[in-house]
């Protein structure tokens, strides 16, 4: 109990420091309830993820709250998976191939949409990331980078993916259990086991002796255990 209140205190102090340095208060953006235990999106932050499904889950929160989202540099965007994750496609714009001008395009979209998903080119310089970071803080945007991003606030990685429903030549892919780990600076990482997409159906549940929160909508990934 003492551990959680200390963590909350640290969070509060960190926020105050941030406010003093930038002058713009950082407001929390609606985040997917399943990811709530791991990461909370805040305006002005940049987040690095290594999985498209995770990026879609991060998009889902603001998108369902009626915000616009932009996806830059992702030519292989799975619209159906995005819709299933809870992303509102009518308020989503894609720039699949920005080419050399990816930074200008991202900056222009940060001006108008609160959340931008970007697949950055390999080797992004620190100064470039800092420039975009300043823009994000000024405009109150969030950047979700699908790939290495220097100076990101939180680095989300997936590990130990386990698919259910598929065998050797029978069944079909149903759901995937992954361990999502959030690293924030030098703080100890937070871990949670999530299901993508959603919890497995009744028929499979006996394979997984973990409790699934019942109040979550079925189309959202569900937290089954947080450690």
């Amino acid at each position: 109990m003492a551990g959680t209140s200390a963590a909350a205190e640290i969070e509060r102090l960190r926020e105050r420091m941030q406010r003093m340095t930038d002058g713009v208060p950082r407001r929390p953006l609606p985040t997917h309830p399943a990811l709530g235990g791991v990461v909370q999106l805040r305006t002005g932050g940049s987040y690095e993820v290594d999985s498209t499904s995770l990026a879609l889950a991060l998009m889902a929160g603001p998108s369902q709250a009626g915000e616009w989202c932009a996806v830059v540099g992702v030519p292989d965007f799975g619209a159906e998976a995005a819709a299933a994750a809870g992303v509102d496609l009518t308020r989503t714009v894609l720039v699949p191939d920005p080419g050399e001008q990816w930074l200008e395009v991202t900056a222009a979209l940060v001006d108008v949409t609160p959340l931008v998903v970007l697949r950055p080119p390999p080797r992004v310089g620190e100064h470039v990331a800092e420039k975009l970071g300043a823009r994000l803080r000024k405009r109150g945007g969030v950047l979700v980078a699908l790939g290495a991003w220097p100076r990101c606030e939180v680095r989300l990685t997936t590990a130990e993916p386990r698919w259910t429903g598929v065998g050797l030549g029978h069944g079909h892919l149903r759901s995937r259990q992954v361990v999502v780990e959030a690293r924030r600076g030098s703080a100890p990482p937070r871990r949670a086991t999530l299901w993508f997409p959603g919890a497995p159906a009744e028929a499979d549940r006996h394979e997984v002796p973990l409790a699934v929160p019942a109040q979550l909508p079925a189309h959202l990934p569900a937290v089954v255990a947080a450690s």
């Binding site: 999985s51 498209t52 499904s53 879609l56 616009w68 030519p75 292989d76 965007f77 799975g78 619209a79 159906e80 998976a81 995005a82 819709a83 299933a84 496609l89 009518t90 989503t92 714009v93 894609l94 720039v95 699949p96 191939d97 920005p98 080419g99 001008q101 200008e104 395009v105 222009a108 979209l109 001006d111 108008v112 949409t113 130990e160 993916p161 386990r162 698919w163 598929v166 065998g167 050797l168 030549g169 029978h170 069944g171 079909h172 892919l173 149903r174 759901s175 995937r176 993508f196 997409p197």
Partner: protein
């Protein structure tokens, strides 16, 4: 007031042939649900009739052109005919595609037969070869007269001559098979015999429609034409003197015209949702493109579309000479109340502006909006529509599609599949035989040439799909879900006919 009726027989076929740019004498029929809806003369000579099934029609006339029914196309094509007639005489009343009535011009062209000749001449000039004209005291008689005329000719029923003309007609002209059958079974073979009955009896036994015909046959018929008012001329254009050759200058100069265009529509209480932008150079239309707007065109949108179009045309070399005229033609207008903004909300102006900036940087096709549609392959199940355009031609979702992969949908759908490999323990590629059975146990795979080989942890399939054999380019593929030992899953496709590789990666469950 005498009525003149113009009848273009088999209009759905004529319109469809014109749209498909097939010769007008080609035997053709329009089908709906595999049943003939309309058939043209050459096909009728082979014995093809309305209501016939498609295979019967094709058996009688193997070279028949099979055309899909599309009432919108019929109406759209007929709009040109209406425009030609409106030039001759205002106040026309379209009855349905293929049939239009106007007030007879009387002696203006020197007589009614001469007027009919003028109408036919104009229509033939316009490319409508088969048009027939009937002139009579009222509409029903005029329509029947037109149906009895020869191609490009007319039948004039003199004033007061309707009753004798109609009395000789068989009851089949009523066109309602049930009523015609009933009348014939009762021994009434001509309209004259029907007209001899008492009005009250006809109404009680046959209903309103026949009672109305009865009244016409008895000489009491009169039907006023519901005339359409000619649509206001909303097209605007701007001339450049001297001609301009840069897209930026043209757009700047056309800005006021765009304002005037939108304002002129607004004065009529209209907004434009489909716009035709044309640029003329050297006296010819050098660039012409139709634009759809998801909502409606404001003046800035009009200028944007002009800019995109000119940039594209200049780059493609369509516009070689400096542009001397730009024309904005509203193709579809709707009352502005349909698209009025709500008191709160509406599309975010700020977002629109930001996206327009990105389009300015990369070109207008660079910003896309994802839309879902029906299909089997993951790539077929989504469509990308350029921002600012309306999606068209989407396949409906929700239909059963055998061979499609059950959910969850893959998060990565590759725009261009990667050549992949899936081999059995011995190293030979796994194959799917003619009957759809898998030969060989998948042991190792590689989703693309850049990824390392890895053992298969789990796999499932095949989902065989045979498609497009009806279009002459058959495609026979089988889809598999493959999970590697690293826990990543891929959607892989076996395509026997592909040149580079038989295994392809279509999507990733990332």
């Amino acid at each position: 007031m005498r009525a003149l009726v113009v009848w273009c027989p088999d209009w759905p076929v004529v319109a469809a042939l014109a749209e498909e740019t097939l010769p007008p004498k080609q035997p053709a029929a329009v089908f709906s649900a595999n049943v003939v809806q309309a058939v043209n003369g050459p096909a009728r000579d082979f014995g093809v009739r309305r209501g016939m099934r498609r295979r019967d029609a094709q058996a009688r006339c193997p070279e028949i052109a099979v055309l899909a029914a599309n009432p919108d196309r019929d109406a759209r094509a007929f709009e040109d005919v209406l425009a030609v007639l409106e030039q001759l005489r205002p106040g026309i009343a379209p009855l349905r595609p293929g049939l239009v009535a106007l007030r007879s011009p009387g002696r203006f062209y020197g007589g009614e037969a001469e007027a009919a000749a003028v109408v036919a001449e104009r229509l033939v000039q316009h490319g409508v070869w088969d048009c027939r004209v009937g002139i009579a005291d009222e509409l029903f008689t005029a329509e029947q007269a037109a149906r009895r005329a020869q191609p490009q000719d007319s039948v004039v029923v003199p004033a007061g001559g309707s009753v004798p003309f109609l009395r000789d007609l068989p009851v089949e002209v009523l066109e309602d098979p049930e009523t015609v059958g009933l009348l014939k079974r009762l021994g009434l073979r001509s309209l004259g015999q029907l007209g001899d009955l008492r009005a009250g009896d006809v109404l009680a036994r046959f209903g309103r429609q026949v009672a109305w015909v009865h009244r016409v046959v008895s000489g009491q018929g009169e039907r006023l034409l519901a005339e359409r008012t000619p649509p206001p001329d909303l097209e605007v254009h701007v001339d450049f003197e001297p001609p301009l050759d840069s897209a930026e200058t043209i757009c700047f100069s056309a800005r006021r015209t765009a304002d005037a265009f939108v304002e002129r529509l607004a004065r009529q209480g209209l907004v434009c949702t489909e716009l035709l932008v044309q640029a003329e150079a050297d006296g010819v239309v050098a660039s012409s493109r139709r634009w759809l707007h998801p909502r409606w065109f404001a003046a800035a949108d009009v200028v944007d579309r002009l800019h995109w179009q000119l940039q594209g045309s200049l780059r493609a070399g369509e516009v070689r000479a400096p542009v001397e005229r730009v024309r904005f033609v509203p193709e579809t207008v709707v009352p502005d109340s349909v698209h009025a903004d709500g008191l709160w909300g509406g599309t975010d102006e700020r977002v629109q502006r930001g996206i327009a900036r990105v389009q300015g940087m990369l070109g207008h096709e660079a910003v896309l909006v994802p839309v879902l549609q029906g299909g089997r392959a993951p790539a077929d199940r989504q469509a990308m529509v350029p921002w600012g355009e309306r999606p068209t031609g989407l396949r409906p979702t929700g239909l059963p599609r055998p061979g499609s992969i059950p959910p969850p949908a893959p998060a990565r759908v590759l725009a261009d599949p990667w050549p992949a490999a899936l081999v059995e323990p011995g190293g030979r590629p796994v194959v799917v035989d003619e009957r759809g059975a898998v030969r060989g146990e998948p042991a190792r795979f590689r989703p693309s040439a850049d990824e390392p080989w890895q053992p298969v942890a789990a796999w499932t399939g095949p989902w065989p799909v045979e498609e497009l054999w009806w279009e002459g380019t058959p495609r026979r593929v089988a889809r598999f879900q493959v999970v590697g030992v690293d826990g990543r899953a891929w959607l892989m496709t076996y395509d026997q006919a592909a040149a580079e590789s038989v295994w392809w990666t279509e999507a990733g469950y990332d």
